[in-house]
Symmetry: C2
Subunit: 564 residues, 2 copies
């Protein structure tokens, strides 16, 4: 492709809202443009990368026996109502009304649609297993679309759905997808982790995320370098037995005056007690309006996802001052003793002795609190957020923390959708049973951003070869010099003939501008045709390493063949 006839509108400056490298460089290098918040246009270069990612995914999905389909983007409200997700999805679901007043969602995912297809067309165990996938534009009305392609409102996804006759077979399908995902992310050249994850709004039995490691990524993970345990922070466990304090003899309960002292830090300082012995009492309001109190040790953070999952809630929030007042609870001094709502405790509170809690009375705390002497929680539950240094739940080595981008997510759904939508099959024994499902997503457009996050320097993008828009970039440094031009054209023709994907910068601009653009665009290999042609030489450069090598022009064919 000749740059003069192509469309690569590079920019010296990124727009002000671009904060992360992928957003900055994909715009500056002319891969994408923003149409509106969270809506991006893929320019020719961007489109090429997108297609390459898509084709790698398609190859491995086909190899795994998954069948490609294409489902409508407009999905009838009735299907979403059958599973209750018309409400669950809330504001993230773009909703459309047609001319006759019927409601549709712009599909953010297609469990309902594919389950509907399957229940209408699959009846027998003989028709199973099946795994259907599609590569399709998805929609999510994000509250804060940002980071370019990382958190958009319209994006390209690969979504797949497996249907099996038994839990055992479903796990097999799940494992096949796990392996397929590994192959895909390996071929894409990512540094990634497969982590245990929360199932969230998709639901199901268990799930894994594939997280590309990047600094300041939105996904927080903990992982164990020793045994390989890795989990999203929302789902991460730790070995809490090792985190316990030594047993103590119980002292008598005492109410103490703690004027205007509420935070763990302040209480700890005021009473001279280790923060591990201050127990926070957090009041949460679940989405059905229920108020619950959750106890957690002062040195640990509550994990809201674990809380939401435990209570089988859709959402939950920390009670506001008004809500506490309405409940008759004293803000800043809440405690479990004599509280008028159910009290649950994190495992960190188990076997804790002589601890401090609020006294449900302004400016007072209880000290030397002990369970079960002074109160009894309904249950002890793992509500804690794991953190760096916590003992690994598997091998007990200290956990590490990292951030990244979630680029894939797989779920063993079980019968969540097949039961609510009545997707049954007749088994060998003649009995009707719900089909066991799994679902498997990859963020195709997000992968493009993730690749840039992991592969760039201060001058621009450094594409992994597997998804680079072109393999070779020819720069004719002075196109008005006939000798330079002739050689460049010859190399370009040769490369095309051999089938090397090549971008040829034949524009009449300065060498400096060409180098700047080439660095920005990030094509892996470069042939620079400049003054050295007089000596029968061109320069071969590698974007990644910066390595430069002089090449005899008559040996260019060998070089081009090496690139294939």
């Amino acid at each position: 492709m000749r740059a003069s006839q192509y469309f690569i509108p590079t920019l010296k400056e990124a727009p002000a809202e671009a904060e992360v490298p992928s957003h900055i460089f994909l715009i500056r290098a002319g891969y994408i443009r923003q149409l509106a918040a969270g809506l991006y246009e893929y320019l020719p270069l961007g489109f090429r990368v997108l297609k390459k990612i898509e084709n790698i995914i398609r190859k491995y999905m086909d190899d795994a026996g998954a069948l490609e389909v294409l489902l409508p983007i407009l999905t009838p409200a009735e299907l979403w109502q059958e599973t209750g997700r018309w409400d669950v999805y809330g504001k993230e679901l773009f909703r459309v009304e047609d001319r006759k007043g019927r409601l549709f969602a712009l599909g953010p995912t297609h469990e309902e649609t594919i389950t509907d297809l399957v229940r209408k067309n699959i009846r027998s165990y003989k028709d199973l297993p099946k795994n259907f996938y599609q590569i399709q534009t998805k929609f999510r009305d994000e509250a804060r679309p940002r980071y370019g392609l990382i958190r958009g409102r319209e994006f390209l996804m690969k979504d797949a759905y497996s249907f099996d006759v038994s839990e055992e077979m479903a796990v097999k399908s799940y494992e096949t997808m796990k392996e397929t995902y590994r192959k895909i992310f390996d071929e894409l050249g990512f540094d990634y982790l497969m982590v245990e994850a929360d199932t969230g709004a998709i639901g199901g039995k268990f799930s894994h995320e594939f997280v590309v490691k990047v600094p300041n990524g939105e996904a927080h993970i903990v992982y164990c370098e020793k045994c390989g345990y890795a989990a999203n922070i929302e789902a991460a466990k730790y070995e809490f037995e090792l985190d316990k304090l030594p047993p103590e003899e119980e002292k008598p309960l005492e109410k103490v005056h703690t004027p205007s002292v509420s935070s763990v830090e302040d209480v700890s300082r005021f009473l001279g007690v280790d923060s591990k012995k201050i127990v926070k009492t957090l009041v949460y309001i679940l989405d059905d309006g229920t108020a619950v109190a959750v106890l957690i040790r002062g040195d640990r953070e509550l994990n809201e996802t674990k809380l939401i999952n435990y209570f089988n809630a859709i959402d939950a929030h920390l009670a506001s001052s008004e809500e506490l007042e309405r409940l008759g609870i004293v803000e800043g001094f809440v405690g479990p003793i004599g509280l008028n709502i159910p009290v649950y405790a994190d495992v960190s509170v188990k076997d804790l002795h002589n601890f401090v809690v609020g006294a449900n009375e302004k400016d007072y705390h209880f000290i030397n609190v002990n369970i079960p002497r002074d109160f009894k929680p309904v249950d002890f539950v793992d509500f804690s957020t794991a953190k760096e240094g916590d003992p690994c739940p598997v091998c007990k080595s200290p956990l590490k923390e990292a951030t990244g981008l979630e680029v894939g997510h797989i779920f063993l759904l079980g019968t969540k959708y097949s039961e609510s939508m009545k997707a049954y099959f007749v088994d060998k024994d003649g009995r009707e049973k719900p089909i066991i499902m799994g679902c498997y997503g990859i963020g195709v457009s997000r992968l493009m951003a993730a690749a840039v996050e992991q592969n760039h320097d201060e001058n621009g993008i450094i594409w992994p070869e597997s998804i680079a828009p072109f393999k070779l970039h020819i720069l004719a440094l002075n196109i008005k010099d006939n000798q330079i031009k002739d050689i460049a054209e010859k190399i370009y023709d040769e490369a095309k003939k051999l089938g090397v994907e090549v971008l040829y910068d034949d524009r009449d601009i300065s060498p400096g501008a060409k180098f700047k653009d080439a660095d920005l665009i990030g094509i892996p290999y470069r042939v620079v045709v400049g003054k050295k042609v007089k000596e029968g030489k061109v320069e071969f450069q590698e974007r990644k390493t910066g390595n430069k090598e002089e090449i005899e022009i008559d040996k260019i064919n060998e070089l081009l063949k090496r690139l294939l």
Copy 2:
């Protein structure tokens, strides 16, 4: 692909609403399923055909130098408002409100979006010409979605947009696309016509449609077998000079009593006058509320598209009884003499003598009316619908009528969008000028239906080779017979190894059911492995001709190679 592991849910009966062959067979043969009115799911077979069509289009678009991009489906209302199409599109535009109350359209076409991209990124004549295209899901909230993929609400389109520095260059781009379209439709194997077309809601200077000929198609065209003139009925001309009646001497105007006689037929019979001399006066209300009267000879039909275009209206409708009453016009006896609204005449009325018109008085007509003696129309305009037998406007031979499916439409837009959206470039002479645009659409999913409309028999589909989901269908007639199975498996493996796209019916069902399914599915070639394997033979069949040929098993390789 093994049928036992694939997903081809064939049906004995098509759903009741399926009226046309493509709708019936694509559903029965397991290519598509309906999710909701006008919304279709592409099952694995359907997806394969869709991709093949897409790839043929892509190949020729790339060859023509067009650059592939991908624009968002959600397009901001503000862009549509700039060109006025937010209102023009009316109920056909699916509109979406986001969580912040901003309005978007689900793109039915992308002139606004691409023009916005170009105005923001192209400044100089050096950056032109450009032709951008995409293959993308489009949306149109059809009042009556029907005929399966032919008139859906969500469909796959290839849309392209050319940008040029001058009208001359734009015409060149237009001609390139015309040729490209011919190549595409030729390779797809269609019997089609390129016809002059109306520009409709897209607008612009001129346009052509590519119409695949099918009986009872929605597109009505006239064409000349002699000179090749062809036009959509909405835009078709005819040589009206040849249709004129011979001149006559003017007779005196007379008002005659015609009790309860209003239709052309009745007036003709009642007065004993040829219907060519009865002139209809039609009252139309334009979208801005203006009422106009249009005269046309009794034997001709008015063409509403021509009328709408002449008045530069968005829409127009025949006045209702209430509207006529409000205007003080006597229904059934309207005439141009003394009428209180502007009167326009079709060219068929020009040089007509001693004709009959309504007298604007109940139960009365004027006879022996003559122009300009008795009244003077504002203008004579071609408002007629051309019809079979009319003289060709180019060579005067009799025109033919046909119906078909519009599968491609190209427009020379001129500056309609660039002016309203201020997409200017700086020309060589340093002056700012509006970019000259063209736009070019192909209905990708509709092509799939069109192919079936043109290629089927009573038993099912007969795919053209270029877009068949598989090239070869192997039927193992009795999979329980080990010899049959072994040979079938061997041929299947061989075909795969050679790269023949093959579907292998390895299901344990009756031979009859296999043949029925194979006819329905319509794969071009078939190898039937049955009892003849004992004699070392299989049968080779061609779906299109029904030809059958016995083949020695050890010569199967030659056959397979022939298929490549």
